[in-house]
């Protein structure tokens, strides 16, 4: 199956929900949807054959002022689909990082939503156990993966003085 074919099928599956579909490097398909429709989209994608969340990526676009949440879906059971990763992406405003959980559709998103919660401070409404998973609570307060949390590594390659 060529990626264009999969894109056509996803288009017919999602209809108006899919705002924009992009193919990156032949095997990564990014589907942009609205925050409101995410649960419906996830349900349809799961029925279509993308049976687990490979990973949940959040990208912070600080200048543009939004977080982009990408559920990268993969397939275990369907050989043809398993070649591709479909990223269901939607944006939420940076100043109000609240969205709905997909925990009840994809159990595999459980810990990853907790990770996004601790690193970006995004609240997934309806998640039954939204606690930090990797960081300790005080560190999670700082939302370390946001772009305004700046890590200072000494960029100087010339030694100050020995």
């Amino acid at each position: 199956m060529v990626p264009e074919e999969l894109v056509e099928r996803i288009k017919s599956l999602l209809g108006d929900f899919a705002k924009e579909i992009k193919i990156w490097k032949n095997d990564y398909i990014e589907v942009e949807v609205d925050k409101e429709n995410i649960e419906e989209v996830a349900k349809r994608m799961k029925e279509f054959g993308f049976d687990h969340v490979k990973d949940l990526t959040v990208v912070d676009y600080m200048k543009e002022g939004f977080f982009r949440i990408i559920y990268n879906l993969g397939s275990y059971d369907n050989f043809e689909l398993s070649y591709y990763i479909v990223g269901i992406a939607y944006n939420i405003p940076r100043d109000k990082p609240v969205t709905k959980t997909l925990y009840y559709i994809y159990t595999s998103a459980d810990f990853q939503e907790r990770e996004a919660y601790e690193a970006f401070g995004i609240t997934f409404e309806g998640h039954p156990d939204l606690r930090p998973v990797l960081l300790s609570p005080p560190v999670a307060e700082l939302k370390p993966l946001r772009k305004d949390f700046v890590v200072k590594e000494d960029p100087e390659i010339i030694a100050k003085k020995k």
Partner: protein, 184 residues
């Protein structure tokens, strides 16, 4: 030829006989190794491994080859290699100019070897050993003079050199390397 999935099954549970056989086999192989242990342990301070050519050990600078490009400091993933500004007198022209020389801080070095690989003139090289003892952390931050010397290797003075050779029967075999004096 792509890979092909093949269904397999674990051996069946078996009855009391296979349990008995399993016990006997386990004890038998234990006894076998009890009488023939096939060991290849390195008795470290008394023996040491003479590592192969190309081992990424400590890094030494050949100052005469260095062209002061700074690539090594730029690529260093651990920020162990830094540049230092020192006067340099050109032997041909006799002029003295300030130049950038690399120095290394072994507190930070991860021995990835990028600096050696990126050096356009092979001014840096690895010595094939890694067990060097420093007394304090300050000493590990080398200056330009120390960076040009090969670090002192105490292990060599205390033990006998061995090397490990892959073997079909034993896995690895410890082979004693004859020192130069012993050959005659």
């Amino acid at each position: 030829m792509p890979a092909k999935p093949v269904s397999k099954q674990v051996p069946s549970r078996g009855g009391i006989f296979s349990k008995f056989k399993g016990n006997i086999e386990a004890i038998a192989i234990g006894v076998k190794f009890f009488f023939n242990p096939q060991r290849f342990t390195l008795i470290y301070p008394k023996e040491y491994i003479k590592l192969k050519e190309g081992y990424r050990g400590f890094i030494v600078l050949r100052k005469d080859k260095c062209i002061n490009c700074g690539s090594c400091a730029r690529i260093c993933p651990a920020a162990a290699m830094r540049l230092i500004r020192l006067p340099f007198t050109d032997p041909k022209t006799g002029k003295t100019r300030m130049k950038l020389w690399p120095i290394i801080n072994y507190n930070r070095c991860i021995f990835c070897g990028y600096c050696v690989d990126v050096c356009p003139t092979e001014a840096l090289y690895h010595v094939p050993y890694h067990d060097v003892v420093y007394e304090t952390m300050d000493v590990m931050d080398l200056d330009l003079e120390e960076f040009q010397k090969e670090p002192e290797w105490d292990t060599e003075k205390q033990g006998l050199p061995v090397k490990y050779v892959v073997d079909e029967k034993m896995g690895l075999v410890k082979v004693r390397i004859k020192e130069e004096g012993e050959k005659q």
